[in-house]
């Protein structure tokens, strides 16, 4: 009797706890995405009738502007991800292995501070520095150069995107490098390895979970970024999210917007899957 009662209570508590989870993930994540997928296959015939078809996806492949921007966004996100890793690694190494005592805490805090401000504030800061009436240009003029526009080009966009991604790279790197046993590194040198060999054979394999986790987050944030490319990019630096925005908000062409959204989602999922696959990591280990 008691046992049955106990089992009953357990079932009840499971359902009670499962319901909010299912409502949240179902109503706010799964159903909206399924609906977006459905809409992306809808073709508008007249104002009140639709049929099914691949028209929106066909547009994407036949309209060079779409797929070129798609490709460009993907490649620039990849470039940003690699640059962020290269810039962040020595910093993370210093914080995790070389800094002592309080310096360590302070340096880590210094990396965190810019990320307490929003992406908008950080991007605005770069605009003040880089634009023609900006600080760098004023300094150049002081040295006798002509006013220079450094904003509104691809380099500016990448500088801004790397800046925005840094924290998400530094933190996982510091966390994994922190656990590295230095005697392994010493052993590498004792066995005759040079700096490069020790780095490649010992440090990088050890840091791999951190590298993958940082790269995934930075790539995804960059790919889905709208603010930085819009404010810092020029006429030719279109970003794919801008096209999604245009379809939804400016043109009210939800069907096309949904198809573009699905394509972006596919690209980011594919890259994440590849990243995990190539390095033998699991999503749970990297994210959870």
């Amino acid at each position: 009797m008691n046992k049955v009662h106990h089992q009953h209570a357990r079932r009840l508590s499971l359902w009670l706890l499962l319901t909010p989870f299912v409502l949240w993930i179902g109503l706010l994540v799964l159903l909206p995405h399924l609906q977006m997928l459905r809409v992306s296959f809808q073709v508008r015939e007249s104002w009140d009738s639709v049929t099914w078809g691949l028209d929106q996806y066909a547009h994407f492949f036949t309209e060079p502007y779409y797929w070129r921007t798609f490709l460009r966004t993907g490649l620039m996100s990849l470039l940003t991800m690699i640059l962020t890793l290269v810039v962040a690694f020595p910093i993370a190494w210093y914080i995790a292995r070389l800094a002592r005592g309080r310096a360590r805490g302070w340096l880590f805090l210094a990396c965190l501070i810019p990320f307490w401000a929003s992406e908008l504030v950080r991007t605005y800061g770069w605009m003040i520095l880089l634009r023609e009436s900006g600080v760098f240009s004023a300094l150049l003029q002081w040295f006798g150069f002509a006013p220079t526009e450094m904003l509104y080009n691809d380099v500016a966009v990448v500088v801004g995107l790397v800046y925005n991604g840094l924290l998400f790279m530094v933190v996982p790197l510091v966390t994994t490098l922190d656990g590295l046993d230095e005697s392994l590194v010493e052993a590498g040198y004792d066995l005759g390895g040079g700096h490069f060999t020790v780095m490649r054979e010992i440090v990088v394999p050890w840091a791999m979970p951190g590298i993958v986790s940082g790269c995934i987050v930075v790539f995804m944030l960059t790919l889905g970024s709208y603010l930085t490319p819009t404010l810092m990019g020029g006429k030719d630096s279109a970003w794919f999210t801008q096209q999604i925005f245009t379809q939804f908000i400016t043109r009210f062409n939800w069907e096309q917007g949904a198809a573009l959204g699905i394509l972006l989602l596919l690209l980011s999922s594919l890259m994440i899957w590849l990243g995990l696959r190539l390095t033998g990591q699991s999503l749970r280990k990297v994210m959870g």
Partner: protein, 287 residues
């Protein structure tokens, strides 16, 4: 590369220089934003014209400048952001707590799979989370309106839709923070309470919940901050009550004045305070 392996002085010098350049790169944009909030010039740029507090306090009735405190547009946007952030914080911390208990304390079939599903919002770009919710709910509102003539305004671009969009991914983050703390809880404590005659509810509220308090505070501060600063999801869902980040973005596209620097400074100080609350919560959680 490590302390016990000596390096050439050149390597160390270059490494040191790199560190200095990196931290200058990190600090410069924010420093400049702060400095120009106090520049007595209508544009946030050099040359320095002297110190002023106009961009915070100037009353348009007294002159040509409008300080942050008198800028109705920005102030109401600030209010909208605060309202949205409060709702998002409340919802995502409650949901996060329930999820944490679900995944840390119960055993059931398909748990691993559901855990992965729970992590999904972290790997979906924010813009996509926003448009999918727009498509689903605004589409639903249109459909209901056409079919039955009932207007579901909360499902049209508005503050409620922004809250829904933000809760979709902030809940995952709060779940992770709270679950990490719950994992370290010793279930014997709860059993002791039960043995001493407490009902499961009393044991939960008097033993487990106080243990979770630092994580709940940390998750709440983080949720508030993430909501307040979010742009990518919000911009797709906002209606006429624009939150601060979207209002600032629109202003920035029209051209910038030092009022924006004043707002930026305010945002930095406010988020730094919140972040302190969040990290203190974390530290207590580690103790």
């Amino acid at each position: 590369m490590i302390r016990s392996v000596p390096h050439s002085p050149w390597f160390n010098r270059i490494y040191g220089l790199y560190l200095v350049i990196f931290f200058v790169y990190l600090a410069l944009p924010l420093l400049m934003t702060v400095v120009f909030a106090f520049n007595d010039s209508p544009f946030p740029s050099l040359p320095w014209q002297g110190f002023t507090l106009d961009w915070f306090v100037a009353d348009p009735a007294d002159g040509t400048r409008t300080g942050l405190l008198h800028d109705q547009g920005l102030l109401s946007a600030l209010g909208n952001s605060a309202m949205i952030a409060l709702w998002v914080t409340l919802l995502s911390v409650v949901l996060g707590t329930v999820n944490a208990v679900l995944f840390e304390r119960l055993q059931f079939r398909g748990k691993e799979l559901l855990y992965l599903v729970m992590l999904l919002p972290l790997v979906i770009p924010g813009v996509i989370l926003g448009v999918s919710i727009l498509v689903f709910y605004s589409g639903l509102a249109n459909h209901v309106s056409n079919q039955w003539g009932i207007e579901l305004d909360m499902f049209r671009p508005s503050m409620s839709l922004v809250v829904m969009g933000q809760v979709s991914f902030i809940t995952t983050l709060s779940t992770l923070v709270i679950a990490a703390r719950l994992r370290k809880f010793d279930p014997h404590l709860e059993e002791a309470a039960l043995n001493l005659g407490a009902t499961p509810w009393v044991a939960w509220f008097t033993v487990t919940l106080p243990w979770l308090r630092p994580a709940l505070m940390g998750a709440a501060a983080m949720a508030f901050l993430m909501s307040f600063e979010n742009f990518n999801t919000t911009v797709m869902l906002t209606g006429s009550d624009t939150p601060l980040t979207v209002a600032l973005f629109n202003r920035l596209r029209e051209g910038s004045t030092p009022v924006l620097n004043a707002v930026a400074l305010f945002l930095m100080v406010a988020s730094a305070l919140l972040a302190l609350v969040a990290t203190r919560g974390d530290k207590n959680a580690e103790a």
